[in-house]
């Protein structure tokens, strides 16, 4: 009972922190638009506020900063929650959403479009659609390779993931080699980023993140049981194999959607659930929503840093997540080691 209450408090606090972070993301930027003006611009979308600002200020707030902050939150939430679920499924703290080669497959898909130009006819969505399709295709190959009859042994799944991921990234490297003057386009995609994506991408990702989160939260009790091993979970009446399938499909869809809009943003999916576990313990009923919120906050702040630190230059966000995340993570691990 005590942890339940504590969990609710933590979740409520994090919701406030996320709201504050997003507000900060909307208010801070190169063009100095005042806080009240920024709020008035946002308010004017649903309230009759007379416009005393310029059209460009309105574009900056409503079409650049706002969708960007929301997209950062969605991508961060998606990666963190998928990381949390996969770490539980594999009972391995090294697991992250990119473990089974989904990012390598997505990178290959995006690179093919960027190098050959095939699919550009589909307009702005050519690259994300190819990334999504290749990401899911990769997971499917890994799954089929690892499948023994109706069972999917976890170790085989991980090893197949490594093999297929290596194959896919070799394909991407080969395309990089061939790409010549299109090199920078692929490199940008590989570095990851949510710059200049706009509302289209927000709408693209939103259903996946909502659907995935609801599903993961609804199976949090089963995930708790799974922590004691597949056999024990089976005795508790959980259909482990079908649970595994559901998780793999859902994680693939959510991660695939996130990767397709943002490229490869590393570390968020690995460290967020880990940090949360160290902080609030392993109960998935709390772990899942807290990871989701924490991932969202982390990426909103990382994105803010990426565009403010060297403005008007924009740093690839993946550099920031790894640069700040890795030392902090190491610190947490060391501290826990000493306490134990």
């Amino acid at each position: 009972m005590h942890t339940r209450l504590n969990g609710r408090l933590v979740i409520a606090t994090l919701c406030l922190v996320l709201a504050a972070a997003m507000l900060l993301g909307v208010v801070v930027g190169e063009s100095r638009i005042s806080f009240t003006r920024a709020m008035a611009i946002i308010g004017s979308t649903f309230l009759p506020i007379p416009a005393d600002w310029s059209q460009s200020e309105e574009s900056i707030i409503l079409l650049i900063r706002l969708p960007r902050v929301i997209l950062a939150a969605l991508v961060g939430a998606a990666l963190a929650v998928c990381g949390a679920v996969l770490q539980s499924l594999f009972r391995n703290p090294m697991a992250d959403p990119f473990l089974l080669g989904i990012s390598n497959g997505a990178a290959l898909g995006a690179s093919i479009v960027l190098v050959t130009g095939v699919g550009y006819g589909a307009g702005i969505l050519g690259v994300p659609v190819a990334a999504f399709a290749f990401g899911l295709g990769t997971i499917y190959i890994v799954y089929e390779l690892a499948r023994v009859g109706n069972r999917v042994p976890v170790t085989t799944l991980l090893l197949c993931g490594i093999a297929v991921a290596a194959f896919m990234s070799a394909g991407t490297s080969f395309l990089l080699f061939l790409s010549g003057e299109n090199l920078h386009q692929i490199v940008f995609w590989l570095l990851g980023g949510i710059s200049g994506r706009g509302w289209d991408y927000v709408l693209l990702l939103l259903p996946f993140v909502i659907g995935g989160s609801v599903l993961f939260f609804s199976i949090s009790r089963s995930l708790n049981a799974l922590m004691f091993g597949e056999e024990s979970a089976q005795y508790l009446g959980i259909e482990v194999e079908s649970l595994k399938k559901i998780i793999l499909v859902a994680v693939s869809l959510v991660t695939g959607a996130a990767v397709s809009v943002s490229g490869i943003i590393g570390f968020v999916g690995l460290i967020t659930p880990h940090m949360v576990r160290l902080w609030i313990g392993p109960d998935h009923r709390i772990l899942i929503p807290v990871s989701l919120l924490f991932g969202a906050i982390l990426l909103v702040m990382a994105d803010l840093a990426s565009r403010v630190l060297l403005a008007p230059n924009e740093l690839p966000i993946g550099i920031i997540t790894a640069l700040c995340g890795a030392p902090f993570f190491a610190y947490l691990l060391r501290r826990r080691g000493r306490e134990a």
Binding site: Q55, E58, L114, N313
Partner: protein
């Protein structure tokens, strides 16, 4: 403004005096020091040339050295005469063995060429001249030096005189008046633009514009917000190598976040053949002409 060509000539002389020295030797060779300070003995009469950079291929052909060319890179496809020559591979991935096998008297490279491969070629006893090409003056100097080495000095001088006359004409036509705010875009997602100390920046300024990203060093990714905030009046975009289907300019035009940018509102986006701008070669004056036309349209 009249004094600009004079200044250019003066600085040209200074650069030539400072960096490049050519001295005759009795044994049929000349002593030559390239832009990287490497001194070498080069045959006075050159018959076989391999170029390891598209810009060097274009310059070599422009000064009348095309018939001497026996090797080029995959990207050296201009002029058509050069495209018929055997290739040694990509500009950064070429085969050293192939270069040596072609037995050139002279190998042309730039500071962008892989220096480890250059060392390997030199170790095999071949002469590699490395040129530094960062400004239009560098190109003129490269032309004159190459003309001297290949024995086509007259052609080279004529070419430089012609190009600098065209350049002076553009620059004098585009001076005066409020400078136009220009943005040069190499890629749209993320926005990858030309900042200070780039060839494109040089062209924008010479054509009478001001680069809105001149506070950014080199090529860089910038935020959409900075573009909206700095409100460029003209956008020049690199045409993509990949496909003609979706062009950068179309994608920029259809981007809602940029709709309030003056250049996009008034549809003042020009597309440039990337080879024309990205290669510091003889066609750079044509690029300058296009910049000028675009900026003053």
């Amino acid at each position: 403004m009249k004094s600009v060509p004079v200044l250019i000539c003066a600085s040209l002389l200074l650069i030539m005096a400072g960096c490049t020295t050519i001295g005759e030797h009795p044994a049929g060779t000349v002593t030559f020091t390239d832009d990287c300070g490497t001194t070498m003995e080069i045959a006075a009469h050159i018959e076989r040339v391999v170029s390891l950079a598209p810009s060097e291929t274009e310059i070599c052909c422009a000064v009348g050295g095309c018939p001497l060319l026996v090797g080029r890179t995959d990207y050296c496809t201009y002029p058509a005469e050069a495209a018929a020559v055997e290739t040694v591979g990509g500009p950064r991935t070429f085969s050293v063995e192939k270069v040596i096998g072609l037995e050139p008297d002279l190998v042309l490279a730039t500071t962008v060429t892989d220096s480890i491969r250059v060392q390997e070629i030199r170790a095999a006893g071949l002469q590699v001249v490395v040129f530094r090409l960062e400004t239009i003056e560098d190109i003129y100097r490269n032309m004159k030096v190459l003309g001297t080495l290949l024995g086509t000095s007259d052609d080279a001088l004529l070419l430089v005189r012609d190009l600098s006359a065209r350049e002076a004409e553009i620059e004098s036509a585009s001076c005066g008046g409020e400078p136009v705010r220009v943005l040069y875009v190499l890629w749209d997602e993320p926005l990858y633009v030309a900042g200070n100390n780039t060839f494109q920046n040089d062209l924008i300024v010479r054509a009478g514009g001001v680069n809105i990203m001149s506070d950014v060093e080199g090529y860089a990714t910038v935020s959409e917000e900075s573009v909206v905030n700095r409100a460029p009046q003209v956008i020049i975009a690199s045409r993509e190598h990949t496909s003609g289907l979706a062009r950068i300019s179309d994608r920029l035009l259809s981007r809602p976040a940029l709709a309030e940018v003056p250049a996009i509102k008034e549809n003042r986006i020009c597309e440039m053949e990337p080879d024309l701008v990205n290669r510091p070669g003889p066609r750079v004056i044509s690029a300058l002409e296009m910049f000028s036309r675009c900026i003053h349209a």
